[in-house]
């Protein structure tokens, strides 16, 4: 992993002028995914309906996130879920659907 992707200084979500309201994580999977995004994007907090690209992500970072999710949850998440219209809520769904690679729970 690229160590540079993990940031010390976070930007407050409020400063980004997001199009939707902040929605809190509702499950353990959503909480872990939101934390993982927050680390990669250096934005906090991450709402479960927030769009990855609207939060400042780009396709390269999405690729790092995909691999981080696979590692964190022991799954192989669909690429489409990560790159096309990604939200934490949708990814949590995709993690649930994804085939296990290491027998970890979601």
């Amino acid at each position: 992993m690229d160590g540079g992707a993990l940031h010390e200084e976070f930007i407050a979500r409020d400063e980004l002028g997001m199009s939707g309201p902040y929605v809190e994580p509702r499950s353990e999977t959503e909480r872990r995914l939101a934390a993982l995004w927050a680390q990669h994007l250096a934005v906090a907090p991450v709402g479960v309906e927030d769009d990855f690209f609207e939060l400042g992500g780009d396709s390269l970072l999405a690729a790092e996130v995909q691999v981080a999710i696979d590692t964190e949850f022991g799954v192989e998440i669909e690429a489409a879920a990560v790159f096309l219209a990604p939200t934490v809520a949708a990814l949590a769904e995709a993690v649930r659907r994804a085939p296990d690679t290491a027998g970890a729970d979601g």
Binding site: S59, L60, V82
Partner: protein
């Protein structure tokens, strides 16, 4: 002189060569003010284009090299070969360059030739869209290089087109050009993410494996860097190769030039170079000044964007005698269609091999090619070429066709 070089309509319906000709004479380092964003410099003379593309000490590639990124930066800067400056650039380039050397590429020529033969229509279809036929040419090359399944290729061609000509009505989504770019970009990344995952399981010895094994200063590329370079390879070939044959045929079908070139096998390689000069499929590449500098006597401020128009350089009368004549026998043709300097197209060798195979097949199969309708040029500042070109083919005698 008021011209809008950032207007894609100029390249679809206007006469960019007339505009460039006038600029070369009167205003060769031309400033275009921004409308709501930053402006940019344009260079249109051969010497200046070559200098801007080559001199990475004065002009960086890391803030994006296409006009549609002006003022936005490029997240791939420093991470994807084409938008990384030396010295890191050179270390990323070496393994790709090795994999694309003529000797390495030789293994693929049979497959590429078969692909070309399958693309070109036979006697049962004398009228066809040459642009559509050529549209699949890049994938006959990238297919074997990246081990892309046959069934995926038309979709990839379309996504590449959306990424390079997002303003064109043939590919633009209803949500507009920016949404088109994003969509194409993300779909391609998703596609390559799946491909890379598959390749990690089962290496195929292709360019994806080269990227996966690449180490720069002892560090592997990150997953994002691997995908970004796959994307760049697809675009590098995907939006350029197709436009060389169509540009040549559009010009040559008017006056018997096609038959003359086809009749002389000794002109194959030189004619391909002329077709590259003529087509200049990559219309421009952009750089940003690293610091205050002077370009052909004109002061350029640190951070300013400079756009090098390759199509203009390739018609510069200071370098090419009779620049507006297509001459397959032209000698000393030092065109800039593949760029210049450290970023000189890493796929140039395989592009040349492919184009020679393509023209050889074209000439072997068709005694003549005539336009059978109005060709349609792409609406794009970058992609210079035709997206539709109805032609009528005259076939050679049976014996020759069946070779």
């Amino acid at each position: 002189m008021t011209v809008d070089l950032a207007d894609p309509a100029l390249y679809a319906r206007g006469d960019p060569h007339a505009v460039w000709r006038a600029l070369r004479r009167a205003d060769p380092v031309h400033w275009q003010p921004g409308t709501g964003g930053p402006g940019f410099w344009s260079v249109v003379r051969y010497e200046d284009v070559q200098r801007v593309l080559s001199d990475h000490t004065r002009f960086t590639s890391e803030r994006g090299t296409l006009l549609n990124l002006l003022g936005r930066g490029d997240p791939a800067g420093g991470r994807q070969l084409a938008v990384t400056d030396p010295p890191r650039h050179d270390r990323m380039r070496a393994p790709l360059h090795r994999a694309l050397k003529p000797r390495s590429v030789q293994a693929h020529t049979g497959v590429i030739r078969d692909g070309i033969r399958a693309l070109l229509p036979g006697r049962d279809r004398p009228e066809f869209d040459l642009a559509a036929v050529c549209g699949l040419l890049p994938l006959t090359v990238l297919g074997p290089l990246l081990s892309l399944p046959e069934a995926d290729r038309p979709h990839l061609v379309r996504l590449a087109l959306m990424s390079a000509a997002e303003e064109d009505p043939a590919v633009q989504l209803p949500q507009g050009p920016a949404a088109t770019l994003h969509r194409a970009h993300r779909e391609l990344f998703a596609y390559f993410a799946d491909l890379v995952r598959e390749r990690r399981r089962r290496p195929r010895g292709d360019l994806v494996d080269v990227l996966l094994a690449m180490e720069v200063d002892g560090v592997r590329l990150t997953p994002g860097e691997v995908l970004s370079n796959c994307y760049s390879l697809l675009l590098g070939a995907g939006v350029t190769l197709a436009h060389v044959p169509t540009a040549a045929v559009a010009e040559l079908s008017r006056d018997g030039g096609y038959e003359a070139w086809a009749a002389d096998p000794g002109l194959l390689a030189g004619g391909v170079e002329e077709a590259l000069r003529w087509a200049s499929p990559a219309g421009h590449f952009m750089r940003h000044a690293r610091h205050d500098t002077v370009l052909a006597g004109v002061p350029v401020a640190a951070g300013d964007a400079v756009v090098a128009w390759l199509g203009a350089a390739n018609r510069d009368p200071a370098v090419f005698a009779g620049p507006d004549v297509f001459d397959p026998a032209r000698s000393g043709n030092r065109h800039l269609a593949f760029g210049a300097g450290p970023h000189y197209c890493v796929g140039a060798g395989i592009a040349r091999v492919t184009l020679r195979l393509f023209f050889a097949e074209l000439f072997a199969r068709y005694a003549s090619l005539r336009l059978a309708g109005e060709p349609v040029r792409a609406r794009s500042t970058f992609l210079s070429g035709y997206l539709q070109m109805p032609v009528r083919a005259g076939f050679r005698g049976r014996g020759k066709e069946q070779r």
